[in-house]
């Protein structure tokens, strides 16, 4: 077997060689790049816009919060009809017979009505008789009746008034919804729902799936993103708060978002949305 060392010497045979100091070159590169990185860090800092909480959402836009929660009960949000891996209520992405979204089943089960509304109410106010009665009424009603209440309440919410953080809708037949939503809004505004959506039966937790899905169903998160110019039709390939370069490693690919016909192609969108927030059919943004 011919050795690799001999191969290199044979390869370089006839090529003019010059003195070279590899370690010095590496040290100079470390110093040069370090000085550049330190200088840019000191001058430009880095982005760190505080995360929104469900409490800030419920306080800042209570009507959007209540509308989202009502839609969770009605099963009309993105999460409610998503499909796998959260539930089986939607077919998910598929390319003909190739449907990888369905291959692994419901590995992260989310029942929107139960996870985001019913369970937090049950956990948050277990000793409240008014709420217990409302919840009992809701759960004993058939789905047709529940649908009539949520439909009427959803139609009334655009005309809702907000006073002292409370949402009031015009009179109508909404069943137990006003009571349920009033308590849910109250729990959310105090920060309780942020914690209740993280309950997992154990002390430690690091999984924000329910809270982020719930926020994603509402309009507040996308509205904040719009103010930071994060939406796909605002900054396209940049997508980062503040005047920062964004995810530079995507420039090579996300530039295609700006070039017709890819600007409107759902196929390329689904390919790169994984690292590039853009409005999608499965997103509220």
């Amino acid at each position: 077997m011919k050795s690799m060392g001999a191969t290199q010497e044979e390869y370089y045979r006839g090529v003019r060689m010059v003195p070279y100091d590899l370690v010095k070159e590496l040290m100079l590169a470390l110093a040069g790049v370090g000085i550049l990185a330190l200088a840019v860090s000191a001058i430009l800092s880095s982005p760190d816009v505080a995360p929104i909480t469900i409490a800030t959402w419920a306080q800042s836009d209570p009507v959007d919060f209540v509308t989202t929660a009502t839609n969770e009960l009605a099963g009309s949000t993105t999460s409610a009809g998503y499909g796998n891996p959260y539930n089986t209520n939607g077919s998910g992405q598929a390319w003909g017979p190739i449907a990888p979204q369905t291959w692994f089943g419901t590995r992260i089960p989310i029942d929107s009505a139960t996870t985001f509304v019913i369970e937090p109410l049950q956990r948050g106010t277990s000793s409240n008789t008014e709420l217990a009665t409302a919840l009992d009424t809701w759960q004993k009603a058939d789905s047709d009746q529940q649908g009539k209440w949520t439909d009427a309440y959803t139609k009334a919410l655009p005309n809702a008034t907000v006073k002292d953080g409370k949402v009031t809708v015009p009179d109508g037949d909404y069943g137990p919804l006003p009571v349920m939503m009033s308590y849910l809004l109250g729990i959310a505004q105090t920060g309780g729902l942020d914690g209740l959506l993280m309950v997992n039966g154990r002390f430690y937790q690091t999984d924000y799936t329910p809270a982020l899905l719930f926020m994603g169903d509402g309009g507040y998160l996308a509205g904040q993103a719009q103010q930071w110019n994060l939406l796909g039709d605002q900054w396209g390939m940049m997508n980062e708060t503040g005047r920062y370069p964004g995810q530079t490693w995507l420039w090579l690919y996300t530039m295609w978002y700006q070039v017709p016909p890819f600007t409107s192609s759902p196929a390329i969108q689904v390919s790169w949305d994984s690292m590039h927030p853009m409005p999608t059919s499965g997103s509220s943004s």
Partner: protein, 212 residues
């Protein structure tokens, strides 16, 4: 046997075989050379070493951030500075890596038995993107929230969302500070060793000579 007598090397020893294989494939004068072909003096070859230098700063600043925990940099000005150093080192790393990639692409750096070196470079680029992506998801700020909520759709559509849950901070953080950086660093070491072992590929048209 006299204790002062040297013990002869056993050719069947695994240690001896390993040592000889390293001597044969990667002798010290290839690993740390004091002479190189004239064409390595071109500026285009600088992009590789400054990419490595940026990676060193990425890892060093990342170690400090990981040691202090994911909350620290939000509340401490020193922490914010280390986060900035991490952030800008990553930006420089990607800029230099893309320049290195373009340079090697136009020089056809995969020629003459170097396809594996090129392929590993491509894999490093891919894992680096995944590492940076999980970094954005681990920031615990508004960017993380918005990226996670949007990114889930493509992950789920591709079928990986069931196992790679971008909404799960714990999973993203673990991948970002441990497994993915180990993968990038290991493959960078392999990449460098392959370059040093085989030597730097000749230009397509060296000094006006014949094409190789």
């Amino acid at each position: 046997m006299n204790a002062a007598e040297p013990i002869p090397e056993q050719p069947s020893s695994w240690t001896v075989r390993t040592r000889r294989a390293i001597d044969r494939h990667l002798p010290m004068d290839h690993l740390l050379p004091v002479r190189q072909p004239y064409y390595v003096g071109s500026w285009v070859y600088v992009f590789g070493v400054i990419t490595i230098a940026a990676l060193v700063w990425v890892v060093a600043s990342g170690v400090v951030l990981a040691f202090m925990g994911p909350q620290w940099w939000h509340d401490s000005s020193v922490g914010r500075f280390f986060n900035s150093l991490h952030f800008w080192s990553v930006q420089l790393f990607f800029i230099f890596m893309v320049l290195h990639l373009w340079g090697q692409y136009f020089m056809a750096g995969w020629r003459q038995g170097r396809a594996a070196t090129w392929a590993i470079g491509v894999v490093i680029f891919g894992i680096s993107i995944l590492t940076a992506f999980t970094g954005y998801l681990s920031q615990q700020n508004f960017d993380s929230q918005f990226i996670a909520v949007n990114a889930k759709d493509a992950m789920n559509g591709a079928g990986v969302g069931a196992f790679f849950n971008v909404l799960n901070f714990g999973q993203m953080y673990g991948l970002h500070i441990m497994l993915l950086p180990i993968g990038v660093t290991f493959l960078v070491v392999v990449h460098i060793v392959m370059v040093r072992a085989r030597g730097v590929v000749k230009p397509i048209d060296p000094e006006g000579g014949t094409r190789s």
